[in-house]
């Protein structure tokens, strides 16, 4: 029972991983869900835990794609090495972007990350010898998942690749969940709540934010690399404003209360977006209406909605009304 409680979110993530193949006929779609779930997780660590609304997650996604793409294309790197490189690229970029951006708060922070996203976009566009410019980096191969020469998992067919992504996704999810539950995660929550107080009781706010940023960058870079291998290209659109926007929308759509919510958000966004686009060419209008509805009626996101439907009230997260206030309130 205790194990169930400790690992409940991981189990939910596992359920999603198993459910996707059972319900979707397309492996690519299922894989994309998991990849964007990773990106949304990275965003949630910033938004939900640190209170940083980053409009620049596309930077790390795009750089992850480019880094993995270049490594696979030119260095013939093995899969794991390419992924590590992409995470490193994401983390480094996050370090730089974060270092500049966290000097600001609130709206300024949002705008700064947005501006950085634009800057990296034009940088990628201008450096077309490296990035392929508008055409993107083409012909990225997808090697098998191997370690020390031994093949662990094949990636040739779409479902095989889904398997690899699923395993990596679960590992990343478990690690992130651990981080979120750790002393570190709890401190992030405090910083999100009141920076001045956190500093006054001894926490170096900037380092915490920066570390959160770097972790987020690495995870998003990983997502970018997996995406590059899914599609075989590292396109300019991965580093575009729209990529940042989508990741953010997924995160808010899912809800920022806990990490698993982001998985829901990503799944919903990708699947519903895919479905709507087959219904009506003006499907973006429906998406817009959906966003309006979410901000008006569903501020806890899909997760909150699910909780409300399930009637479960989790203690200690402030999303239940302060019941029993009277008894506790007076001394």
């Amino acid at each position: 029972m205790k194990i169930l409680k400790t690992y409940r979110y991981l189990l939910l993530a596992l359920a999603v991983v198993l459910l996707l193949p059972a319900t979707l006929s397309s492996a690519s779609l299922a894989t994309e869900v998991l990849i964007f779930a990773l990106a949304a997780l990275g965003c949630n660590l910033l938004l939900g835990y640190t209170g940083l609304m980053s409009f620049g997650q596309g930077i790390f996604l795009g750089l992850g794609s480019y880094a993995a793409g270049l490594a696979l294309l030119h260095l013939k790197a093995p899969l794991l090495a390419a992924l590590l490189l992409a995470m490193l690229a994401g983390a480094l970029a996050a370090l730089v972007v974060g270092w500049f951006s966290i000097r600001q708060r609130g709206v300024y922070f949002v705008m700064l990350t947005l501006a950085f996203a634009q800057m990296f976009y034009f940088l990628a566009y201008t450096l077309k010898n490296i990035t392929g410019g508008d055409n993107g980096l083409l012909n990225i191969p997808r090697p098998q998942l191997s370690l020390l020469g031994a093949t662990l998992m094949p990636t040739a067919t779409p479902w095989q690749y889904y398997g690899v992504v699923a395993v990596l996704f679960l590992i990343a999810f478990a690690l992130l969940q651990r981080i979120a539950d750790s002393v570190f995660g709890r401190t992030l929550l405090a910083i999100r709540d009141n920076e001045a107080r956190a500093a006054a009781i001894g926490y170096n706010i900037k380092s915490f934010k920066l570390i959160a940023f770097v972790i987020s960058g690495a995870v998003t870079g990983l997502a970018g690399a997996l995406h590059a291998m899914l599609t075989g290209i590292a396109p300019l659109s991965n580093i575009e404003y729209h990529a940042s926007e989508s990741i953010l929308i997924m995160t808010v759509l899912g809800g920022t209360g806990n990490l698993f919510a982001s998985v829901l958000g990503a799944a919903f966004y990708v699947l519903v977006g895919d479905w709507l686009s087959t219904l009506w060419p003006r499907w973006l209008m429906l998406l817009g209406l959906l966003l309006i509805a979410v901000s008006l009626y569903m501020q806890k996101g899909l997760w909150g909605l699910g909780m409300r439907l399930a009637g479960i009230v989790r203690p200690g997260h402030g999303d239940q009304p302060p019941a029993a206030l009277k008894e506790g309130g007076k001394q």
Partner: protein, 255 residues
């Protein structure tokens, strides 16, 4: 003569052209309560900000236990043994009261907080400190409630508790009793008085009952400068202080 635990020399703090603190020197002796009083806007809070690192100082030196800390940011000074409460309550409003205190206790060892794998509860020292403080501050009944739901008075108590949780060498309390219930003021007074045994206390207070009763030294500030520094009985009878600050003494609440 013991050496002062904290010794500030010629502290100057300017906000733009305006000099809020103008060459203040102050020595805090260990095991004492040292009050800072003065009219509104005299620069008391600003002096606290300067000493605890909430704002960078413009000029001056601060020696803590003989070590220069004047250039350190606030979070680094906490490690050296400085803690403070705020005049305007500043809590983690969405976190539970217990978590507020645990975080404050943890802050003394912020390095631990970078452990990405450890559970917060497994670092028991901070948790124990938090539990002890809940009792001491009479907040045990509301320990699991978000701090934002407490009444003003409860929040004020927690505010002081946050500073205590850091187990500092010097604790700075900025008007800890402001907004507190009449019944609680006596309690708070005893609490502060008792703190002397653990650390040096620097106190800003407008409640003269408390100030006169528990202070060992009193510094009176006016217009950013020190007007006098003396024992309470001397202050009480100081004509300048009377004129500048005390007046007829209708403050003081109940007792």
């Amino acid at each position: 003569m013991t050496a002062p635990i904290l010794s500030a020399r010629n502290i100057v703090k300017r906000y733009g052209k305006f000099t809020a603190v103008n060459g203040v020197s102050i020595d805090i002796m260990p095991g004492t309560v040292h009050s800072v009083i003065g009219p509104n806007g005299a620069g008391k809070t600003t002096l606290f900000h300067s000493l605890t690192g909430t704002v960078p100082i413009t000029e001056g030196n601060i020696l803590l236990d003989g070590e220069e800390v004047g250039h350190l940011p606030d979070y680094r000074r906490v490690l050296k043994g400085i803690a403070r409460s705020f005049q305007v309550t500043s809590l983690f409003l969405n976190l539970s009261v217990r978590e507020n205190l645990r975080l404050a206790a943890q802050g003394r060892h912020p390095g631990q907080a970078f452990r990405l794998w450890r559970d917060a509860e497994s670092l028991t020292a901070a948790c124990d400190t938090a539990e002890a403080l809940l009792e001491r501050l009479n907040l045990a009944a509301v320990a699991s409630r978000p701090a934002g739901e407490l009444s003003h008075g409860q929040q004020r108590r927690l505010e002081v508790g946050m500073a205590m949780a850091g187990r500092p060498k010097v604790i700075f309390l900025d008007e800890p009793t402001s907004g507190m219930g009449i019944d609680d003021i006596g309690e708070m007074k005893r609490l502060i008085h008792g703190l002397r045994n653990e650390c040096a206390v620097v106190l800003i207070e407008h409640n003269m009952d408390i100030v006169m009763d528990i202070s060992d030294r009193i510094t009176v500030m006016q217009l950013g400068q020190v007007l006098v520094e003396a024992r309470p009985d001397e202050i009480r009878n100081d004509e300048r202080v009377r004129r500048a600050y005390l007046g007829g003494m209708i403050t003081g609440g109940a007792a």
